[in-house]
């Protein structure tokens, strides 16, 4: 064969002399014989080239001395073919064997996947593109081992709970460090309003090429003091040489709330509440003329029909969204570009909750000559996060009176949002009017008024840009400097109408604030790659980096409108106050280095080190490091027998290192400070912070050992790892006894905690037929979290939900954020009283209404429940609460399947979390015996002796028996679930059809998100968090708006 080519080559050479120029034609096909359009055809060593037509054919005029052509196409391995005598060159391109050439981002560089000895998971950008999400990390659930994503609620653009290998901090952030194109970016919710404002939404998921998630110390140590929570490297798409390629992705989608609790209708409510009122002997339910008369009654509308309001219908909607992305990429051998614009307008499940993003991205790389490369990127994004008012779902909002999630459940169904004359049903008491009910209050706010008149918006203008210069003075040496900025201008705007709701008592309220978050990063690196004696491969990196962040915020908070017609803050108001004042600055100065060595691609060794100096600490400097090693056993001689037939590769690897965490440390936390305020207009100087000058980094010591192998000719890839992360010097905001009068909990390096677990991923191709292919990837992660020590003398860290309810307790010997509840003993069939268990496990009965001669808290025999000294006792959480349930899933993961049949492909992603508890606080409200509407299961409440039920005898005003006033295990449930997270069915039109329209690729798809959940959890969705990304108060579902279920229809087309 080679001889044949040689012969042909000689012939070509001969011909070159015969003619100065000639035309070569041919056809490019894939390995199945289908034509490959838009493939690049270049004369080797020149820039002369063309691309194939839709039918795969090409025609190229080549210079006389041309000997061979280079054929390449996206995702296919380049092929070089000699030009034969008849000037016809047909080639067949093969799909690239990615496992051989794939690189992963390792921080300040890349490395071939097979040579990486740290633990890094790779997720393709396609996994997060074209999904009904606002930011890419919302779509990461179930995609990789060790990565746990929890979507906290159905409010658009709320940052998901993002954990890598468990909760790695108590007081600081557990959110991973996110690096986009080499520049660290802000994470978290930057909205100061009731709309979500995830900073990562600035990155259009469709612009992401790949996501590399570094989990162990070796892979993350290059980011030193910020690496403890893992590092996520985002690489945006870049251009490729070849003819400009234009791609359009567009979709429309519809989203609906699911899992709204089953609440009573008007008649049920009316009858039930009257019954409950009659069970409370303190109330006047019989004498309409007497004081405090209570009577629930239905009303009729203008047409005489019964008013039966299903409040969720007035707040939730079918949200319609549309999403458009257009990008152009291309370039030649020296310069490539990627230019993208995106527009998305998403409607959430709550009326007026919208997310609108316009973004633009331009990536450019240009090799000026063989030693100098320049490039950079410019990204601008405008995100508008809109909401009318609080949903009660974001962190801190759970008990907001206006929270929609609770309003729709609480408000009486026998009143209407509108009076019969068409005006709003609201009262001067600022609640929804009672209509026919004879009592002052049967609900909180009328949500319709809030939806119609209030605004709580946040707009983010986010600029991310960088420029780099790369010099390659020697073949083995690369010098690079990169300067990047990340500037966010967050513009918050709140308007609360004086008509009703939160703005009522103030006569209208508004706030407009601007937060400016600026960052610049300057990174300089030198990279050396050298091979000795053809088997020793050495690669070394040294570098320095400065990272400077500043933030300032200011704004107005005005109250009391001069005229009710006004709706903007610039209009007339009575009080002009400041709002959103903020000032902060910090600086991180770092030097780092890395050494990679391998012997003949068989033994691998890697070491990373970083020294950080951080402005927030008094003792600023610390060193972090990680080492790792790998052994490719399949390259050993002894492997060459039968084993090599089974295993394509087999590798052991391990790592150890120490990294740090600083995320969330205040800029001035080392100082004890006095702040300024006013006392009746006079200035004050008030002690407001006890600082800790000895504060240091949290340190994570991470062990990671694993193996991976591929077998059956890569049909099955297995990746297994064990990890352990010992966190020491854990910063605790050590609360002082309130009687010390210290105004804050003092941050102190005191605690220790660990996370450990295993990770297993199985991926492969169970079926690979001619037309039918099934690719499957299953991942499974376990996590055990345990707090080993807190501060001396500190036995527990109690964490509240929105400052009002404390059910989360962190204590030594337990995982963080255990549910801390009084145990429920059921309902006494004889009396219908709630039974609670005291700390000794003895049953204690509770009755809200205490008839003469009886007691509120009794023993089962009816005697008063007494303290040892004989005085009256009661069940309290402090005395009788127990560590009831773990809120950290012990097992989680996903199962991703793609079935391909001819042009069709079907992708099914299941996610699961197992063995954890959720405190369904909303359920307490759903059984609250005040005017609140209840879950329909109260209809089965205790009514007469002998009734066996789990709902106690309803007594109007009772808010103890249900868990509102006393958190109890009645409202804690297992959260285990399997979720059909995403199903996408797509059809790819065959090239033979679309090529006539000059289209290279056309794909249409329908997709469903959150299609089904398999769970015993009674709430809307066990994937929930009322406390956002809080570490110690996870697993709380308190008045939260559920997630949405979304159906998408979309198309992708490339030219």
């Amino acid at each position: 064969m080679r001889k044949l080519f040689l012969l042909l080559g000689v012939f070509v050479f001969f011909c070159v002399h015969a003619q100065a120029q000639r035309t070569v034609t041919g056809r490019v096909t894939d390995d199945k014989g289908n034509p490959v359009p838009n493939a690049s055809v270049l004369v080797k060593g020149t820039t002369t080239g063309t691309v194939t037509k839709a039918d795969g054919t090409y025609s190229l005029v080549v210079p006389a001395n041309a000997r061979s052509l280079i054929f390449s196409s996206v995702d296919m391995a380049a092929v070089e073919a000699p030009i034969d005598a008849d000037n016809t060159v047909d080639v067949s391109l093969r799909m690239e064997d990615k496992t051989m050439t794939e690189v992963v981002v390792t921080g300040y560089g890349t490395q071939r996947r097979r040579e990486v000895t740290g633990n890094i998971s790779n997720i393709k950008g396609a996994a997060v593109a074209n999904k009904p999400v606002q930011s890419f990390e919302q779509a990461l659930a179930g995609r990789a081992t060790g990565v746990q994503i929890t979507i906290p609620n159905g409010v658009l653009n709320t940052p998901p709970v993002f954990r890598i290998r468990g909760t790695n901090s108590i007081s600081l952030s557990s959110y991973p460090l996110i690096i986009v194109d080499g520049v660290p970016v802000p994470t978290g919710d930057f909205s100061a309003t009731s709309a979500g404002g995830n900073a990562l939404a600035s990155i259009n998921p469709n612009d992401i090429e790949s996501i590399d998630i570094a989990k162990d110390a070796a892979a993350t140590a290059i980011y030193g003091s910020r690496a403890a929570n893992g590092v996520v490297y985002i690489t945006t798409k870049k251009g490729r040489a070849g003819k400009p390629r234009v791609t359009y992705n567009g979709s429309v989608s519809w989203t609906n709330v699911y899992g709204v609790p089953d609440i009573m209708n008007a008649q049920e409510y009316t009858d039930f509440k009257n019954m409950a009122a009659s069970n409370n002997g303190n109330l006047n339910t019989t004498n309409p003329a007497g004081s405090g008369y209570i009577k629930f009654a239905t009303s009729t509308d203008a047409n005489g029909n019964l008013i039966d309001t299903y409040w969720p219908d007035h707040v939730y909607r079918t949200g319609f969204s549309n999403d458009h992305n257009l990008n152009v990429s291309g370039g030649n051998d020296n310069t490539t570009y990627y230019f993208s614009v995106g527009f998305t307008d998403q409607e959430g499940i709550i009326r007026k909750n919208d997310f609108i993003r316009k973004n633009i991205l331009f990536n450019l790389d240009s090799r000026l000559n063989n030693f100098l490369t320049v490039g950079g990127k410019i990204s601008y994004s405008n995100e508008r996060n809109l909401a009318a008012s609080t949903s009660g779902s974001l962190s801190g909002e759970a008990f907001a009176t206006a929270g929609f999630g609770r309003l729709v459940l609480v408000n009486a169904p026998n009143v209407s949002p509108y009076l019969n004359n068409g005006s709003y049903n609201i009262t001067p008491s600022n609640v929804v009017g009672p209509m026919g009910n004879s009592l002052a209050q049967v609900g909180f706010y009328n949500p319709v008024v809030l939806l119609d008149h209030n605004r709580s918006n946040s707009e983010n203008n986010h600029m991310q840009a960088n420029v780099y210069l790369q010099i390659k003075p020697l073949k083995w040496m690369t010098l690079r400097t990169l300067y990047g900025i990340d500037n966010m201008l967050v513009d918050n705007e709140v308007f609360q109408s004086p008509k009703h709701g939160d703005g009522f008592t103030a006569g209208g309220a508004s706030a407009s604030t601007l937060g400016k978050f600026k960052r610049w990063v300057w990174t300089n690196t030198a990279q050396f790659d050298y091979q000795f004696a053809s088997k020793h491969n050495v690669s070394a990196l040294i570098g320095g980096e400065q990272d400077r962040r500043t933030n300032v915020g200011f704004g107005l908070g005005r109250q009391t409108l001069s005229d009710p017609v006004y709706t903007v803050i610039q209009a007339g108001w009575v009080t002009p106050n400041t709002s959103g004042l903020a000032f902060g600055e910090n600086y991180l100065l770092s030097y780092f280095g890395r050494l990679n060595y391998d012997f003949n691609k068989k033994y691998f060794f890697s070491a990373n080190i970083r020294q950080d100096e951080y402005s927030a600490f008094a003792d600023k400097q610390a060193i972090f490091w990680g080492v790792s090693a790998g052994w490719e056993i399949s390259k050993e001689k002894f492997w060459e027998g039968g084993l090599s037939k089974i295993f394509t590769n087999f590798r052991l690897r391990g790592s150890y290192g120490k990294v740090g965490n600083t995320a969330g440390i205040g800029d001035y936390v080392i100082f004890s400070t006095y702040g300024s305020g006013l006392y009746g207009g006079q200035p004050t100087l008030i002690f407001n912070q006890a600082g800790n000058p000895n504060l240091q980094w949290e340190t994570s010591s991470k062990v990671d050992v694993g193996l991976n192998f591929s077998m059956l000719r890569d049909r099955l890839n297995v990746d297994f790892a064990y990890y352990k992360n010992d966190i020491t010097d854990l910063i605790l905001n050590v609360p002082q006894a309130p009687s010390t009068g210290v105004p804050n909990s003092i941050p102190t390096n005191v605690g220790t905690m660990f996370n450990n677990g295993i990770e297993l991923s199985l991926s492969g191709t169970p079926i690979r037929g001619k037309d039918f292919v099934w690719n499957s990837s299953f991942n499974f992660s376990t996590n055990k979290n345990e707090v080993e020590s807190l501060a001396p003398g500190l036995t527990e860290v109690l964490s509240s939900t929105s400052g009002l309810e404390t059910v989360s307790r962190t204590a030594v010997g337990y995982p963080v954020g255990m549910l801390w509840l009084v145990r429920n003993g059921g309902v006494d069939p004889a009396s219908g009283r709630r039974i609670l268990l005291n700390k000794n496990g003895n049953p204690v009965y509770y009755q809200y209404y205490v008839p003469a001669g009886q007691f509120q808290w009794t023993n089962p025999d009816g005697t008063r429940y007494n303290k040892p000294d004989g005085s009256a006792n009661s069940i309290t959480q402090a005395t009788d609460g127990v560590m009831f349930g773990n809120t950290n899933p012990k097992i989680y993961g996903g199962w991703d399947n793609t079935f391909t049949y001819k042009g069709f492909d079907l992708n099914v992603l299941l996610t699961y979390q197992y063995d954890f508890y959720v405190y369904y606080g909303t359920n307490a409200g759903l059984h609250d015996m005040r005017f609140w509407n209840n879950h329909r299961d109260v209809l089965g409440a205790w009514k007469k002796p002998g009734d066996v039920t789990n709902v106690p005898k309803p007594v109007y005003l009772d808010n103890i028996s249900n868990g509102s006033g006393l958190p109890m295990s009645y409202n804690a449930f297992r959260g285990d679930f399997i979720k059909v997270k995403n199903v996408t069915l797509a059809y790819n039109f065959p090239a033979s059809i679309i090529s006539k329209a000059k289209i290279s690729n056309l794909r249409v798809y329908i997709s469903g998100q959150n299609l089904a959940i398999l769970t015993d959890y009674p709430g809307p969705d066990p994937e929930v968090s009322s406390n956002g990304n809080g570490n110690t108060n996870q697993g709380i579902d308190r008045n939260t708006v559920a997630n949405g279920r979304t159906f998408v229809f979309g198309l992708n087309v490339s030219f």
Binding site: N280, F371, S429, A440, Q441, I471, P473, M477, L479, T481, T505, A506, W522, N524, T525, A526, Q559, T560, T575, N577, L581, E585, Y587, L589, K620, Y668, F671, S672, T673, G675, S676, L678, G681, Q682, P683, T684, L685, I686, F687, N688, Q689, V734, P735, A737, P738, S739, T740, G741, P743, T748, A791, G793, E796, L798, L804, A872, S874, T876, A878, N959
Partner: protein
């Protein structure tokens, strides 16, 4: 050659990283560090203001202290069943985890105590030298006055009344030195009597060192002066049932015969119309100490803390209406009584609608102590000390009554009637000012039932509040009630 140039250039680029080391040492731009807080007279003066500002917190004397003192009693009915606005306090069943009153009042009160202690320590260290001895003593008098007010107020909710065992019951952790670092959480409760001893020591020091008056009516109302300390002592001694000392103290600022105008220091006197006391500028000589408010953010009680928000239905949220079975219907409180001006019927219910009637952000000054109270404290002490109907006590009582209801002259027949008339007058006069709880507690009376809330005898659980659950969990020496 080209390579060498590039290497040199590149090395400069990488290694000569032009870092800004000054960025590594940021100094707070919006606060003063503790190292320099006592360096100038201005900072020290501002710190004195901060003691009052902390006392004025919405969780404390900006509103909730008075509200808690009022709604535990029988004269108000809870309208909103909202735990945030004291439904459980009203029901007399708050738990130690009850955030909004039991926990927040405890923590905000001790914050003030620590501020006073830090201030006293800082003055001793270098502050006194900065401002000179006269001003220093004035300031220290103010700090100790504030500390006394806080300890006294805490005792009324978190400890058994003095009358129960003569102060022998568990009182409060008595903290007298400033704390700004970890390690001081553990401290056991002193007895009630020991805390009172400290309160009186502070008030006596304050009386001796406070200025006799300030330059403006505003300062006279919002900063402590000699008469403020004396007036507060009459309250403290009355609470301890030490009636002779009430008389001794009150006599310093109440003449033997009318007109009752303080003879020295600020000339405290009843105003002709009680309404003027509760209207801008809120700085009459009747208001001995009030917490000033302004519309500026942070200088008013804040959300759901404001007196007007709780009691007024017109300008507030009407959290509590007046009990139609309480003082509202007392026959001796005539329709002509000017104090009924404050009441109004809204939506069929009577509210204390106009005593605090500034609209949002509720800039009514929150009253701490008024001259009328000193008069009635003295009257009660005299009435209890002297057999029969004490003439001066009756004169003091009628001074308060006839100011608002000139047509009525009270004429109780016996010593007992006189005492009851004074107690009744206190309910009318101080309605909504937070004294009701003190009056019930100091006499170990049963808290009467109201609406759906049951009565509580002194032996009942709920007669006093439990201790903050945070204190229980963080202070290993603490004991609960």
């Amino acid at each position: 050659m080209k390579n060498k140039i590039l290497i040199v250039l590149g090395s400069i680029m990488v290694l000569g990283i032009s870092c800004k080391r000054e960025y590594l040492d940021p100094v707070p731009q919006t606060s003063i560090t503790d190292a320099t807080a006592f360096d100038t007279p201005g900072r020290i003066a501002n710190q004195v203001n901060s003691l009052y500002a902390a006392l004025k917190s919405g969780a404390f004397f900006g509103g909730r202290a008075q509200i808690a003192g009022e709604i535990r009693g029988e004269n108000f009915i809870n309208e909103t069943t909202n735990l945030v606005t004291g439904a459980d306090v009203w029901m007399l069943n708050p738990t130690g985890t009850s955030q909004n009153f039991v926990k927040n009042m405890w923590s905000s009160a001790y914050y003030v105590i620590n501020l006073t202690n830090l201030f006293i320590d800082g003055m001793a260290a270098n502050g006194s030298a900065v401002v000179g001895p006269t001003l220093s003593n004035n300031y220290l008098g103010e700090a100790r006055f504030v500390r006394a007010v806080v300890y006294y107020t805490l005792l009324q909710h978190y400890a058994r009344p003095y009358a129960d065992g003569g102060g022998s019951k568990p009182g409060l952790p008595l903290r007298l030195t400033g704390i700004k670092e970890s390690g001081f959480s553990a401290l056991a409760r002193s007895t009630v009597a020991e805390v009172y001893t400290q309160i009186l020591a502070d008030l006596n020091f304050a009386e001796a060192n406070l200025p006799t008056s300030y330059a403006t009516a505003l300062l006279n109302t919002t900063r402590a002066h000699k008469n403020t300390a004396i007036a507060f002592k009459t309250r403290v001694y009355l609470t301890m049932q030490n009636y002779n000392s009430v008389i001794t103290e009150a006599n310093k600022i109440v003449p033997l015969v009318p007109p009752f105008v303080a003879p020295s220091g600020v000339a405290h006197a009843l105003q002709a119309d009680i309404v003027t006391v509760f209207r801008p500028p809120y700085t009459t000589t009747e208001s001995i100490l009030s917490m000033p408010m302004s519309a500026t953010a942070g200088d008013n009680p804040g959300t759901q803390n404001q007196l007007g928000y709780y009691f007024s239905k017109s300008t507030g949220n009407g959290e509590f209406s007046l009990n139609t079975a309480g003082i509202l219907i007392d026959p001796s409180w005539t329709v002509a009584d000017r104090r009924r001006f404050f009441n109004a019927v809204v939506s069929g219910k009577t509210y204390l609608n106009l005593k605090y009637n500034a609209p949002s952000p509720y800039t009514d000054y929150a009253p701490v102590i008024r001259y009328a109270e000193v008069l009635l404290n003295l009257a009660e002490a005299l009435a209890r000390t002297n057999a029969g109907v004490d003439v001066r006590a009756l004169a003091l009582l009628n001074a308060v009554r006839k100011r608002s209801d000139p047509a009525v002259t009270l004429a109780p027949a016996t010593q007992g009637d006189l005492i009851n008339a004074i107690l009744l007058e206190r309910e009318i006069e101080f309605l909504g000012e937070g004294l009701r709880n003190i009056d019930l507690m100091r006499l170990l009376q049963t808290i009467p039932a109201k609406g759906s809330a049951p009565a509580k005898t002194p032996a009942d659980q709920g007669y006093i509040w439990p201790i903050s659950s945070d204190e229980m969990s963080l202070n290993p020496l603490m004991t609960d009630n």
